[in-house]
Amino acid sequence: MNPRFDEEIEDDRRYERGLLVKAGVAILLVVVVAVLHELSLHWG
């Protein structure tokens, strides 16, 4: 029925592992906002 079973599972696993990279990008954004907040306190 699905000769690509192993390939498909591997694709899904790869997508899931990619979430760690996406989390890294989101954390970077938070760091940028936190740094801007700190800087604004000194510039204020």
Partner: protein
Amino acid sequence: VIHAITLVVDWLAVVLVLAGTVPIFVGTYQILLACLHGLRNHYGQCAPYYPRTAIIVPAWNEGAVVGGSIDRLMRLEYPPDALRVYVVDDGSTDDTAEVVRAKERMYPGRTIHLRRENGGQGKAHTLNHGLAHVLSDDWMQALLIMDADVIYSPPSLRRMTRHLADPAVGAVTAYIKEGSRPGNYLNRFIGFEYIAAQAAARRGQNVLGVLACLAGGAQLHSRENLEALGGRIDTTSLAEDTFTTFNTQLRGRKVVFEPHATVLAEEPGSVGSLWKQRVRWARGNFQVTRRFRSVWFRPWAERRLGSVSFGLIWFSLFLQPLLMIGASAGLLTLFFTNRELASTAFSWLWISTALTFVFITALTVMIDPGTGWHCWREAVTFPGLASLALMLYALFPDQVRRGIVELADLAGVTLTHRGVEIATLLVYAWPAASMLVATLAKKAAERARLGWLSPVLVYLVGYGPLLCAMSLAAYVKELRGASMAWEKTEKTGKVVG
């Protein structure tokens, strides 16, 4: 003595404000867990597996959508002789019966029309009628429960059944996506909500090894699981999906979320319709919380459902409306007892809200980029424009203050001390007041002349506080013992697959 009392009151108020941040930190924890799904998932136990699957479609006046749904089910990438569709017609008064009978002739032996003459008792009763039928012989090895309007992507069913190759798994659910096209602002809010509440949260729950709820429109059960549940769905609550999910796990079977099996669903397009649906869901959750009271925070008795992590996830959402009221009460108390501490607590509350909002929103959009970009405006305005302004103020207080003074100068308005105090009180009251304003969005939607105001208010207060207002309304209804009449969400066939 007075000093000691003031100190106690101050710190109690601070605790209330800090408690208001619990849901956002728990939400962040859950989404962080979702990111670990690549390392901890069920794919290692999957295998090509195509059990004989009965699909039960409960239908009450679904003539507009059920025919298309059957056609699409027949095109699923699944062995045709291992698939049967049972439409349980719950005493429909429209053309549902004619539509389904026409499909019976088109797909002989693969589409079956079951009529329930005394219908209208709710979805669980309808499902039980179908369940009794499919369990009466031994053809069915797995059962898929779906809604009449949802659209399964062609590979979705086989992506779900591959998990049932592991006999420890009792049930599998899919990723329900809002599918109304073009859809309105509310559909886009729901679209974003579903990435966060399903694609992200349920991945996190997979990592914990415990699932809060099988989606009502996409739950696949093994026959063994259904038989262990007594062959019936709970009919005593408004949350039969969650009852089934809990009971499956309490009997020692795993429940798995499969994010790559996608299902499109039509969700409410008006605040009134959304209100009815979510009040029903929240009342159901209230009933679940009460019924399973012996499970919560007892990891020694129930390793997964009783875990502290799962309890925190469940109760932070369940209590969110009360925590928001508590945060406002704390800030308002501090305003009168200790202004400096009030200002500090305000900053803690809104800076932590802002940082977690950036993290959760960015990650949620990236988890399902297609839907995320479609709903990006609603993703950004999810907490509401007013709360976004408060986040900006907490993050950049001097700059925002200067901007307000300059704007007031431009407008020729003098900022008095009394005016600033009143504004501060309003700002402190906002977490609670936002729910009150959200109820006005519902009232406006009910009046033809004020209909335009409803979306304006939703964008202003935010979709999140709107959901909290609905939960609060549900809890009040539940405590007053209101009737549990099933109010079906109206479907119009707007979903485009």
